[in-house]
């Protein structure tokens, strides 16, 4: 490989441009027109940029304006500065919802991850009809939430429901799966884990697929236990995918409106009202658009902060 080619490739990697300059001629940066490669890349990004502006950014800006005004669903209202944010932040309901959102997200993310990883590890081994199970286990993720929420309600709500009957047979009558505030939180979290673990299972399965079997053989020869192999070999290898799946699942959990709303409506007595449910109810049931959208924005802000922290973590993993 000639020096000039190497230089060209390096420039390509840096995104400076491959064509347009003679081989070996260092790009006279100031004067040069944007290279053909840069144009191509811009053209590549353009459709997504347009969609971003039209579909994604527009509602964000619209909502941002709503959050600093006192309008309703139809009229814009007057500018009120950060009054909506102040009133939201000083309301106890906001903080109790934030607390439940935290519980819901942490259990949703780590619960579905743990279950998904365990199943991915299990399905990685040779099992008769393994592919059938793989598809069957994806079903909770595929089924529309409207349907699965109804089905879960049917299974747990009344004393005639199958699960309460089972618990009664096991000597635990009157377990109020949805009516006791704490148990309702537990039920909603388990429901969320049930919906989400297939996604995690797939993430982890594909991450595990890149682990070389020989690594395990080597670890085995070194006398490492299964747990040690898992901690020392498997986890580090899948750490990047793990962090990424945590970020995505955090977004999915924090923004999850139907799962909670369809199963409990946020009750009993607001015990399962997460921030997104609170935002929805504030806007569409209390018709307080400004404060409701402010809740959504505060939520998004925290979400972005959390994700950036996790994102840094990924970079660190990459550097290692």
């Amino acid at each position: 490989m000639t020096a000039s080619t190497a230089e060209r490739l390096n420039r390509a990697r840096r995104g400076v441009g491959v064509s347009g300059h003679g081989p070996g001629a260092p790009a006279p940066r100031r004067k040069s027109v944007i290279s053909a490669r840069a144009w191509t890349l811009l053209a590549f990004a353009l459709p997504s940029l347009l969609l971003l502006l039209l579909i994604n950014l527009y509602p964000v800006i619209y909502a941002g304006i709503q959050s600093i005004r006192n309008g309703d669903l139809i009229n814009a209202g007057d500018f009120v500065g950060f009054a909506n944010y102040a009133s939201v932040l000083s309301s106890p309901q906001f903080w109790s919802s934030a607390q439940f959102t935290l519980i819901f997200t942490i259990s949703g993310v780590f619960g579905s991850w743990a279950v998904g990883l365990a199943l991915a590890l299990l399905l990685r081994t040779r099992i008769p009809a393994g592919n059938v199970f793989k598809v069957l286990l994806l079903l909770p993720w595929i089924v529309p939430v409207v349907v699965s929420a109804t089905s879960w309600n049917f299974l747990v709500a009344t004393p005639q429901s199958p699960i309460p009957i089972l618990f009664t047979a096991l000597g635990m009558p009157n377990v109020l799966f949805l009516a006791s505030p704490v148990l309702a939180q537990v039920t909603v979290c388990i429901f969320k884990i049930w919906i989400s673990f297939p996604f995690m299972m797939m993430m982890m399965a594909s991450a595990l697929a890149s682990v070389d079997v020989n690594v395990y053989e080597a670890a085995k020869m070194d006398g490492a236990s299964t747990w040690q192999t898992f901690r020392g070999v498997t986890l580090p290898i899948i750490s990047r995918s793990t962090y990424i799946s945590w970020i995505l699942m955090t977004i999915f959990c924090v923004n999850d409106f139907p799962t909670i709303f369809l199963l409990t409506g946020g009750g009993p007595v607001n015990s399962t009202t997460s921030l997104v449910v609170l935002a929805y109810r504030t806007v569409f049931q209390n018709f307080q658009v400004g404060p409701g959208v402010a809740i959504a924005f505060l939520m998004t802000f925290v979400l972005v902060v959390i994700s950036v922290v996790l994102y840094r973590q990924i970079r660190k993993v990459n550097v290692e």
């Binding site: 309703d72 669903l73 139809i74 009229n75 309600n153 709500a157 009344t158 004393p159 005639q160 009157n174 109020l176 949805l178 009516a179 505030p181 309702a184 709303f261 369809l262 199963l263 409990t264 409506g265 946020g266 009750g267 009993p268 007595v269 607001n270 009202t273 609170l278 109810r281 504030t282 569409f284 049931q285 209390n286 018709f287 307080q288």
Partner: protein, 441 residues
Amino acid sequence: MESQSSGAAFTRRGFIGLAGAVSATALLAACTTGGGSSGGGSAGVIKFWNQPWGGTTFNPLDKQITLAYKPPKGLGKATYQEIQWANFTQTYSSAVASNTGPAVSSGGGTQAFLFESQGKIAYADHLLDSWKKNGLYDDFLPGLIDTLKTKNGYAAVPYNLDMRVMWYNKSLLSKYGVAVPTDWDTYVAACKTLKSHGIYGYGTYAGAGGFTGGHNLVSHMINNGGGLFDSNNQPNCVTPENIEAMDWVLGLVKNGYVDPRSATYTAANAQAQYKALKFGMGWDTGGLASNVGGSVGNDLVVASPLTGPSGKKGALFFPNNIMMYTHTPSQKGSEAFLTYYYKNMAPLWTKNTGIGLPPLKSIAATKEFQSVPNNVKIINEWQPISKTWGAPGSNTVFLNVTTVDGTPAMDTFTQGILGGKVTAKAALTTLQNTLKANAKP
């Protein structure tokens, strides 16, 4: 001419028995509105949006009625659109905000007042005046039209009535020798007997999408001469009448007469409990028996209203309504269509579509309606004593009702009471504070 063709349309579609009545009323409609519209007006199409108020047969029939409308000369035809209950607030708000909304619609019970406050509602005063001349006005059940009056005019016209009434399973009660309760004390006594047989005496639900539990509580307050709003339409919840009513319910909860899961039951869960013979008595909409269905549905009977401790009777009802919007191709067209619709909507009830109770005496008097004893009992005994959310201050609906109708504040209150871990006064005080913070002065 026009009435003939609309009559023919109905006949073709199988409404043979009704054709005569329909064509007669349509003729009337054509005459009255035709006279008024001689001044012209644009021939814009009137968009009519309606909700699924009944079973699967409701909207197709409703659509037929709407499309059979033959507008008087110079006025537009009507088009029909069914709007799902799911997220309907978003559907209407986004449509009205973008000027793609209907000219005439039903919708949520307080929707008209929300849009009225936003200047989007065309008042029904002129329409109602015209109805005074053609007899339609007097056909409404007494006092009903005025429940939708605001200080600026009538925000909407009553369409179907949603009631909260007491139901009991006649077989269960007679099996265990329980007399049908007539007042609060005999109700408690009945609950006690039922409980000894493992049956809940107070069936209700307040879970996801189930606002009936809260409606029932307010109904009991009204039964006792109380309610949530004063005569200035401002929240006034912490009253002796309300505290007494809530203490009564809390007593039922603490004695185990209320299913502890009620706070998070959906309508379907409650219906399953009736079906499983676990609910012997309860409070629900007028359609409970048909929703439960089967042999148990046939055993469910509407009781007479209970007499409260103060000797009063009372209950909560919702005058679901139809509203007209300022965004219309022609206000005359909107009014002409509504006149037609009200004169021809009787099949929605007589054909058993599952819609709430009729607002018109003439429909309640039809033999089809009279053939369902529960409905007759509701119209004869419950409707006259029922009040709107405005009780005790007024018998109207108004903007501040949006703070209680299906809101988080009301859910929290209801689930608190049904959970039995609050005191009546504390729960009512919390409710009062939230409502006050959300209410418009």
